[in-house]
């Protein structure tokens, strides 16, 4: 499936607590900001994102992350201005799930600690759903820690089904079809 490189017009969002962010596709210029955002994440957040203790982002992983392969992966970042440049306060990404299944993608959402509960995660995930559908995917899935209540609640709100995962009770698989014609 040949696709055009990802294009996405930046969008200004006003969150329900009044704070404003810019939502846009990730670019390679985001690498330093992603690194800073990772360094600030709590052990809790890192565990939720990677399902294990993650000390650092390897340069290779960072490099891959800011260069999503069109059609294979996509990432949104939510940014806020800082004195010089900007900070990344949230990210949502999808990656094609497995070699054998070209129509299913896996997602992950990461939020800076003080942006939880702001409604940003919902904006990110909703945007990601639309994007994955436009990119031709039929199913989006993700693995979520069973005690990550806010993420599970959000998945339910966005019509994901919650299923047991092959990882045991500690991890829930959330899955949703991406029917065309949905908002």
């Amino acid at each position: 499936m040949a696709r055009k490189p990802a294009t996405y017009r930046p969008r200004r969002l006003v969150l329900r607590d009044g704070r404003e962010v810019t939502l846009r596709a990730i670019t390679e210029a985001d690498a330093p900001a992603i690194q800073r955002a990772f360094d600030r994440l709590s052990a809790d957040s890192r565990y939720q994102r990677f399902l294990h203790h993650k000390k650092q982002l390897s340069p290779e992983a960072l490099e891959r992350g800011v260069h999503p392969q069109p059609g294979q992966a996509f990432a949104f970042v939510a940014t806020v201005p800082r004195r010089e440049g900007f900070d990344v306060v949230g990210a949502a990404q999808y990656v094609r799930a497995a070699a054998g299944n070209a129509r299913t993608c896996e997602f992950a959402i990461t939020l800076a600690e003080d942006w939880r509960g702001s409604g940003l995660a919902r904006e990110l995930l909703a945007s990601l759903l639309r994007r994955a559908r436009r990119d031709g995917y039929a199913v989006m899935m993700g693995l979520v820690l069973a005690d990550n209540e806010p993420m599970l609640a959000l998945a339910r709100k966005l019509k994901f089904a919650l299923e047991p995962s092959s990882e045991g009770s500690a991890v829930v698989r959330v899955v949703r079809t991406l029917a065309t014609g949905e908002p």
Partner: protein, 567 residues
């Protein structure tokens, strides 16, 4: 709410307990000291302390804390002691002075101790000299300003005391050198306290009694706030549960589980409240000494975990222990293995009675009736004044037989986690239900069974280990590229910690890594098995680890594309 389990209560066990019988745990303990004054309360190494002596010594210690150390009501005081006579004296003294007890595992490393002292904001600590070197390393970076040190034999009669302390120090060489400026000797503190007037403190159900630390998924231990009301409730609940089988003031309990473990703590206090003599075993791994203590005790009850019962059954000399008075063997903290339960019943004639609870519920919430003829394989039914339910992922109750999360409600459920409202909100609902993170079922009769856990957690001999903490420590080693920790089944400890490691330095050995772990982790958390892999750990394409694949001994061939893990 329907309580089908009440029909299973043995005769004499009430459906409700009267939490208002005592205003505080302190009042309850003092009342027992008065009621059973001349009876032996605790014994250790062949020496007993009567309820009256305990009353007197704990009052002296409380006076010292109040008047000499000048601690203020609500201040936190850490206890870093194994099961010695000093433990109940320190515990009761701290509670009587209106202070909050922070139990510390004496085997903690400097790293673990620092976290607990700082998180609790402990102002004082009572520490056994054998472990003072750990405290000395970290005290400068904590808020602790009062240190009381004690030697193993400090509350034994004079000759025995000197002999024991000399043997521990000079023969067994169990006291690494330490230096703590301004540390006060426990015996001196008691002597000074005897000369002071103690001001009685009035405490109520909402006053905090304990910050009882329990691991968290992120590897950071959290302090469960157990109030005097929580503790009064659970002590009464357990006492009511065992009441029909036990005779007031006539029983002997052997407690080999460390009292800093909440299951041992509340269990022992329940027996204490009914005038039982408690035989303290300081180190159950020293099997000859443990067997010796059992032989001298004519025990009628014992509290332990599966690992310990198993070790006893295997121990030379256990067959000669007089168990003719044994009525009750309580197991908690971890799942009991069927083989151990069967062997125990055959060897002693008494079934293992399994109970269930969490630090967050002080801890006993569900237990098997003590009159069961055989080990049931389940965790039992809710204890008096306790509700339990099985909830689905939306928090709605499920019908009998369905697997869901066990939730608990009752007067023993904690007030929350110390200084962690976010974590509290995750487990404690506004309507009082505590979500346990344990998965299980309830049948029509109200009996509960455990099936699985919702949390990434490993239980080693009744102690919780969270993978994240161990992974964090492994990642601190410069020779480690990545590491993940899982629990694997283990005959002896129920589960064992296994580390799967990808090396950065090809020269890194298992011994290097274990030395590093021992420096930062208490023994039970140190991986028992280390597996080195030459390929990256298995992850989904977006970078989430697949622990299930780690359980295979043989690393799978890398067939998936390189993981992507940005943002």
């Amino acid at each position: 709410m329907d309580r089908p389990w009440l029909a299973q209560y043995p005769a004499g066990v009430p459906a409700q307990i009267d939490v208002d019988a005592y205003a505080s745990l302190k009042d309850m303990l003092v009342a027992s000291c008065v009621r059973y004054a001349e009876l032996p309360a605790y014994s250790s190494m062949g020496t007993a302390l009567t309820f009256r002596q305990l009353d007197e010594a704990s009052r002296a210690f409380a006076a010292w804390l109040q008047k000499v150390a000048r601690l203020q009501r609500g201040d936190r005081v850490a206890i870093m002691l194994p099961n010695l006579l000093q433990y109940p004296v320190a515990l009761f003294g701290i509670l009587r002075a209106g202070l909050v007890v922070v139990n510390v595992n004496p085997l903690y490393t400097a790293r673990e101790l620092t976290h607990q002292l700082n998180d609790s904001g402990a102002a004082a600590i009572v520490v056994l000299e054998n472990f003072a070197h750990t405290l000395a390393q970290v005290i400068g970076s904590t808020s602790v300003r009062t240190v009381v040190t004690t030697q193993v034999g400090d509350l034994l009669p004079p000759f025995k005391r000197l002999l024991t302390n000399a043997v521990v120090k000079h023969v067994k060489k169990l006291v690494p050198p330490w230096r703590l400026d301004a540390a006060v000797d426990f015996r001196q503190a008691l002597a000074a306290g005897r000369g002071r007037t103690f001001d009685e403190v009035t405490l109520g159900h909402d006053d905090l009694a304990f910050l009882q630390y329990t691991g968290g998924t992120t590897g950071v231990a959290k302090g469960a706030m157990l109030s005097h009301g929580n503790m009064v409730a659970n002590v009464l609940q357990v006492a009511a549960w065992i009441g029909p089988g036990m005779k007031d003031g006539a029983e002997t309990l052997v407690i080999p589980l460390p009292l800093y473990h909440v299951f041992a703590l509340t269990g022992a206090l329940s027996f204490f409240s009914t005038g039982t003599q408690t035989v303290l075993v300081a180190n159950p791994r020293d099997m000859p000494a443990f067997i010796q203590a059992l032989k001298g005790s004519r025990l009628s009850a014992i509290i332990g975990v599966n690992t310990l019962f198993r070790a006893l059954l295997d121990a030379p000399g256990f067959a000669e222990v007089d168990l003719s008075r044994l009525k009750l063997a309580v197991a908690g903290g971890m799942a009991v293995q069927q083989a151990v339960a069967q062997r125990w019943k055959r060897a002693t004639g008494v079934p293992l009675v399994e109970g269930y609870g969490l630090t967050e519920s002080a801890p006993v919430a569900i237990a098997n009736p003590i009159d069961i003829p055989e080990w049931s394989g389940g965790i039992g039914v809710p204890v008096p004044s306790t509700e339990a339910a099985i909830l689905d992922s939306d928090g709605q109750p499920l019908p009998p037989g369905d697997v869901g999360e066990i939730a608990l409600r009752g007067p023993q459920v904690m007030k929350g986690y110390w200084n962690r409202p976010g974590d509290t909100a995750q487990v404690l609902r506004a309507d009082g239900w505590l979500r346990t993170g344990d998965m299980g079922t309830m049948d029509e009769r109200g009996s509960f069974r455990l099936t699985d856990r919702k949390k990434d957690m490993i239980v080693v001999s009744g102690f919780k280990v969270f993978p994240n903490e161990i992974e964090d420590v492994l990642a601190m080693h410069p020779g480690v590229l990545e590491a993940a920790v899982i629990g694997v089944a283990d005959e002896r400890s129920g589960e064992a910690v296994k580390a799967v490691v990808v090396r950065k330095a090809p020269t890194l050995t298992e011994a290097d890594l274990l030395d590093h772990c021992r420096l930062h982790l208490t023994g039970y958390k140190v991986p028992r098995i280390v597996e080195f892999r030459s390929e990256p750990l298995p992850k989904t394409n977006i970078g989430k680890i697949l622990r299930r694949e780690l359980r295979d001994a043989v690393p799978a061939k890398a067939s998936s594309p390189a993981p992507t893990e940005p943002a």
